[in-house]
C-alpha cells in the first residue's frame, strides 16, 4: 500500500514531470481532493488544467470544424481539441473506468509521441501535446482501459481521510524542472529497476521506463545531479509495486519445497542471478516489496490481473446502443431524431454558391444540401456459457463438455459474437470471463477451468440471468448455453440438499423464461437426466443431451437458438 509520505512525493514528481501521469483510485473524497489541490498548487502558475468529460467525442478530444465560427466567417475555421489545449498541463479524466477504449488509444498516441495528429473535417494538423493525465478511477468492478493504465506512472489512493499533503512548493518544482534534463542515471540503476520489474512479473517495458523517469525526477527534486539509491527505491515503490503480478522469489529459498516445483524459467533465473550479485537491485526490490498491494496474493490466486483489465467497457456500449456507430452520411432532412452533419451539408452546398448568387460571407443552403449522419445499431450477441464444473459433472464428462464449448466458440467466432464464461461449482457461481470479443482468452479460461465440489445450479442460473440482463441493457442480444448434468444439490442460500436445490433452480428458471432470454441446455450426464430436461422446459430453452451431440447437431442447435433469440429481441 502506498505510504502517506510517498503520496506527497508523487504529487511533487507529477508537478516536475506532468507527463508521468497518475491514476487516482477510489470514490470522490477528501483524499482525492487533497491530492488534486496539492498538485494544482505545486504546478507553475498558468499551467493548463483541462477536464475530459465522460463520453467526450472525437470533436472535443481532437478538434475539428468550429461550427459557429465557420458559419459566421463563411469559411472553414478549425477548433482545437482538448488534447491540444491541455498541452504542457494536465488533463483530468472523470470516470476513467468508463473511458472508451478508442479514446484511450488516442490518449495513448498523444502520450507516446508528445503531439496530437488530426486528420479531420478537412483539416490536417500536428500540434504539440505534452500532457499529464490524471485519471479519476471510481471503478469497483470496472477499470480504465489497459492501454491507458500502461502509460500512467502512479497509482494513488483517492479514498481516505485526506489531510494536508506535504508536496514541494512551486519554487522547488521550478528548480527541479531546470535540473531534470541533466540528471545522470547510471547503468546499475537502470539494471536494478529493470530487474525489479522482472521479479515482480511486470511484462510491459513501459513500467521500467516510467520508473527511470520517476527516479530522475526524484533526484532533481532532491537537488541531486545523479540518481541515488533513495530515488530508485521511491520509483520502485511508486511505479513498480502497484503493477506487480507476482510476489518476487527470494534469492535464498527459505526451505526445501515439499512438492517438486517446475524449474524457474530463464527469465527468473536471470533475475535471480542478478539479484544475488547486485545489492543495489536487492534493495530496490525490497523497497517495492514492502508496499505490494495487500490483495495481490488473493488476486493472483483468483487468476485475475491486478493491473488493469482488458475487457470491454460497459459505458461505451451503452451509449453505442443508444445511437449506434456512425457509418457515414446520406442526403436527407434532419427530422425524426436524425442528426445533421454540418460539414457534409456545407460541402454539398459549396459547389452551387455562385449559381445561387450567394453574397460573400453568407452561404446559401437549400433543402437538397442537407446531409444527415447514419448510425448502425450494434446487433451482435453475447453468448454466456454456464459450465457446470461440479464434482458430479467432472466425473461424468467435463472434458467432453469443454469440447462442446470449444465447438460452440468456433460458431461464435464466425458470427463475431462476444462470449462470457460462468462456472458453477462448490458453493456458487463465478464469472470467470466477463463478456469479451477475444475467443482466445475464452479458450484459455476454459482450459484452466477446474472441476469438483457441489452443484449450485440455482446460483448459476441466477448469475446467468443477471449477466443476460446486463447484456441486454447494453443493447446486445444475450444467449445462454448451460452445460450441466442436472444433478443440482446446493440451494440458492448455499445449503446442501437435492429437493431444495431443485426447487430453487426451477424458480430461477421461471424468471429466466419470463425475461424471455434464449438459451440452450446441454445435458452432459452419461444418460439424459430428467432434471436437465425439466430445467430446459422451465427456462423455455432448447434441450440437447450430449450423447447425441455430434458436431453437426450441436451447431444446428446453436443456430436454432440464436435465430430464436434474435427474433425475440
Amino acid at each position: 500500500m502506498t505510504r502517506p509520505e510517498d503520496i506527497g512525493a508523487a504529487v511533487g514528481l507529477l508537478a516536475v514531470d506532468p507527463g508521468l501521469g497518475c491514476r487516482l483510485r477510489g470514490p470522490a473524497g477528501p483524499m482525492r481532493d487533497a491530492i488534486l489541490q496539492a498538485l494544482r498548487q505545486a504546478l507553475p502558475a498558468g499551467t493548463a488544467w483541462r477536464k475530459l468529460p465522460a463520453g467526450a467525442t472525437d470533436d472535443r478530444l481532437l478538434g475539428g470544424l468550429d461550427l459557429a465560427a465557420t458559419l459566421a466567417a463563411g469559411r472553414p475555421v478549425a477548433e482545437r481539441g482538448l488534447l491540444a489545449q491541455a498541452d504542457g498541463g494536465v488533463l483530468q479524466i472523470a470516470m476513467a473506468e468508463r473511458l472508451d477504449e478508442a479514446v484511450a488509444a488516442r490518449l495513448g498516441a498523444a502520450l507516446d509521441w508528445g503531439e496530437v495528429a488530426t486528420e479531420r473535417d478537412g483539416f490536417s494538423s500536428r500540434t504539440p501535446c505534452r500532457l499529464g493525465v490524471v485519471a479519476l478511477d471510481e471503478g469497483i468492478d470496472e477499470a480504465p482501459p489497459g492501454a491507458l493504465l500502461d502509460r500512467l506512472a502512479f497509482e494513488l489512493p483517492g479514498d481516505g481521510a485526506g489531510g494536508r499533503i506535504e508536496a514541494p512548493d512551486a519554487a522547488a518544482v521550478a528548480s527541479a524542472r531546470a535540473r531534470l534534463a541533466g540528471v545522470v542515471v547510471s547503468e546499475d540503476s537502470v539494471t536494478a529497476l529493470v530487474g525489479a520489474a522482472m521479479q515482480l512479473g511486470v511484462a510491459s517495458l513501459r513500467a521500467p521506463l516510467l520508473a527511470v523517469r520517476v527516479a530522475r525526477g526524484a533526484a532533481a527534486l532532491a537537488g541531486r545531479d545523479a540518481v541515488a539509491q533513495a530515488d530508485l527505491e521511491l520509483a520502485a515503490r511508486l511505479v513498480l509495486a502497484p503493477r506487480a503480478t507476482r510476489v518476487p522469489i527470494d534469492a535464498e529459498p527459505p526451505a526445501e519445497p515439499e512438492t517438486p516445483e517446475a524449474p524457474p524459467d530463464q527469465a527468473e533465473r536471470d533475475a535471480r542471478a542478478l539479484q544475488s550479485e547486485s545489492p543495489l537491485a536487492d534493495r530496490v526490490l525490497a523497497a517495492a516489496r514492502a508496499v505490494l498491494p495487500a490483495d495481490l496474493l488473493a488476486a493472483i490466486a483468483g487468476g485475475a490481473a491486478v493491473w488493469g483489465k482488458t475487457g470491454g467497457n460497459s459505458g461505451v456500449r451503452l451509449r453505442a446502443a443508444r445511437r449506434g456507430r456512425p457509418i457515414g452520411v446520406r442526403a436527407g432532412a434532419p427530422k425524426g431524431g436524425a442528426r445533421l452533419n454540418l460539414l457534409a451539408t456545407l460541402r454539398a452546398a459549396a459547389p452551387w454558391q455562385k449559381l445561387r448568387g450567394a453574397v460573400p460571407g453568407r452561404i446559401a443552403v437549400r433543402r437538397d444540401d442537407f446531409r444527415i449522419r447514419r448510425f448502425r445499431q450494434q446487433t451482435r450477441s453475447t453468448t454466456i456459457f454456464v459450465v457446470d464444473a461440479s464434482g458430479s459433472a467432472a466425473v461424468q464428462r467435463l472434458a467432453e463438455a469443454k469440447g462442446a464449448v470449444e465447438l460452440l466458440l468456433a460458431e461464435c467466432y464466425i458470427r463475431r459474437d462476444r462470449v462470457a464464461l460462468l462456472s458453477v461449482r462448490g458453493r456458487g457461481a463465478e464469472l470467470l470471463l466477463p463478456p469479451t470479443p477475444s475467443l482466445t482468452r475464452a479458450k484459455k479460461c476454459l482450459a484452466a477451468l477446474p472441476g469438483g465440489g457441489g452443484t449450485p445450479l440455482a446460483a448459476g442460473l441466477a448469475a446467468a440471468l443477471a449477466l443476460a440482463a446486463h447484456v441486454r441493457q447494453e443493447g446486445q442480444t444475450p444467449l445462454a448455453v448451460f452445460l450441466t448434468d442436472g444433478r443440482a444439490n446446493i440451494a440458492l442460500d448455499g445449503t446442501p440438499g437435492r429437493p431444495g436445490a431443485e426447487a430453487d433452480a426451477l424458480s430461477v428458471a421461471a424468471s429466466w423464461r419470463k425475461a424471455g432470454f434464449a438459451g440452450l441446455v446441454i445435458d452432459t450426464s452419461a444418460r439424459p437426466h430428467p432434471f436437465a430436461r425439466k430445467l430446459a422446459e422451465a427456462t423455455a430453452c432448447r434441450y440437447l443431451p450430449l450423447p447425441q451431440a455430434d458436431a453437426g447437431a450441436l451447431r444446428a442447435a446453436v443456430q436454432g437458438a440464436v435465430q430464436g433469440a434474435v427474433r425475440r429481441a
Binding site: 537502470v190 511484462a203 513501459r206 459547389p351
Partner: protein, 327 residues
C-alpha cells in the same frame, strides 16, 4: 518484425505488414523508425500525388504540374512518405474531398487530396488497426489492392494513383481483426516482450537516452541507418535479377499444401518475400533457407482457421517446417 518491414521496403508489392503484439513492445516505434531507413525517391516537383517523373503521366490527375506544363517536369528528391493514419481520422481526410475553403470563398470546385494521395509510393501506417472503423478499413484495403483511389463525392470525380504499403499494428487483447482482413496483409508478425534482463536494460537505456537528447541519439545510429538504406537500395535493384528455381517453387507449394492454406496468395507471397530476402542478403537466387525464414510471417495468418488456436498458428507453421526439413 524488422525483417518483415525490410522485405516490404525492398518489394512494396508484397502487400503490407501486420504487426500484432502486447503493449509496450515498441511496435509503433519500430514502424516510425522506418522512414529514416528508406532511400529517398524522385517525384515531380509540387505533385500532391508523389508522381514518379520517370513514369508515364497519362494516369496522373489534373492539377499535377507535370501534366499541366507538357514540358519535362522538374524532379525533386524527397524522403519516402511514411504516413500515419491517426485514430479518429475522418473519411474526407483519408480519401480526399472537396476543398471547402476554396469552395466557400472562391466558389471553385477543387479537390483536396487526402492521406491516400500523400501515402502514394510510400507507407501508410495504421496504429491500433483493430480499433479503426470497419468502413474505413474496407476502404483502405480496397485502395491498397487496386492501387488507385477513386473519389466520387460532392460533385467531384477524381481518380489518382495510391500505391502504398499498408502497415497495421494492434494488440490482440483489444479485439481481433476480421478474418477477411487478415489475409489481405502480405506478412504478419507477432511481437513479444523480451524476457531477458540485458535486452530489457538496453531497451530502457536507449529509450531514456533518446528522451533526453534525440539529436545526438539519432547521430549515434546514423551510420547504421545509412548502411541499411544502402542495403534496401541495392536489394531493390537486384530484385529482378534473382532467380527462383523450380525446386524452390515446388518447396513453397508443398509447404502451403501441408498447411492447407486457402488460395494461391500464400505461395505467391512466400516466393516474393523469399526473393526480397535473398535480395537483401545479396544472394543471386532464392534458397531454401530464405524460404524457411520467411514462411512463418508469410503464412501464419493464412491457415484455415481454427479460431481458438490463434496462438497456435505460428506453431503450426513451425511444425510443418520441421516435417519438411527434418534436421
Amino acid at each position: 518484425m524488422k525483417q518483415a518491414l525490410l522485405i516490404a521496403a525492398a518489394d512494396p508489392s508484397i502487400g503490407g505488414v501486420l504487426v500484432f503484439g502486447d503493449r509496450g513492445t515498441g511496435k509503433s516505434t519500430a514502424i516510425r523508425a522506418l522512414a529514416a531507413l528508406l532511400p529517398p525517391m524522385q517525384i515531380v516537383a509540387g505533385c500532391p500525388y508523389n508522381c514518379d517523373p520517370a513514369a508515364h503521366f497519362a494516369h496522373c490527375v489534373a492539377g499535377c504540374p507535370a501534366r499541366a506544363g507538357g514540358a519535362t517536369p522538374a524532379a525533386v528528391s524527397v524522403p519516402v512518405p511514411v504516413v500515419d493514419l491517426p485514430l479518429g481520422a475522418t473519411e474526407d481526410r483519408v480519401v480526399g474531398a472537396l476543398d471547402l475553403e476554396r469552395a466557400l470563398t472562391a466558389g471553385e470546385r477543387a479537390f483536396e487530396p487526402g492521406l491516400l494521395a500523400r501515402a502514394n509510393r510510400g507507407f501508410l501506417y495504421i496504429d491500433e488497426a483493430n480499433l479503426l472503423e470497419d468502413f474505413l478499413v474496407d476502404l483502405l484495403l480496397d485502395v491498397a489492392a487496386s492501387g488507385e483511389n477513386v473519389v466520387e463525392r460532392e460533385g467531384i470525380s477524381v481518380r489518382h494513383p495510391a500505391r502504398f504499403v499498408l502497415v497495421g499494428s494492434g494488440n490482440p487483447e483489444e479485439g481481433e481483426l476480421r478474418p477477411q482482413l487478415l489475409d489481405r496483409f502480405g506478412l504478419s508478425v507477432e511481437v513479444t516482450t523480451p524476457q531477458d534482463i540485458p535486452t530489457r536494460v538496453e531497451v530502457v537505456r536507449r529509450r531514456d537516452a533518446y528522451d533526453r537528447d534525440p539529436a545526438s541519439f539519432g547521430a549515434r545510429y546514423a551510420a547504421g541507418d545509412s548502411a541499411i538504406r544502402e542495403r534496401i537500395f541495392a536489394a531493390r535493384a537486384a530484385l529482378k535479377t534473382i532467380t527462383v528455381s523450380d525446386d524452390m517453387l515446388t518447396e513453397a507449394a508443398t509447404l502451403c499444401q501441408t498447411l492447407g492454406t486457402d488460395g494461391l496468395r500464400g505461395e505467391l507471397t512466400l516466393i516474393r518475400a523469399a526473393r526480397a530476402l535473398a535480395a537483401l542478403e545479396g544472394r543471386a537466387e532464392v534458397t531454401s533457407m530464405a524460404l524457411r525464414s520467411v514462411a512463418p510471417s508469410a503464412l501464419r495468418h493464412r491457415l484455415r482457421r481454427d479460431p481458438l488456436d490463434e496462438a497456435g498458428s505460428s506453431v503450426r507453421v513451425e511444425r510443418a517446417l520441421m516435417e519438411l526439413y527434418p534436421v
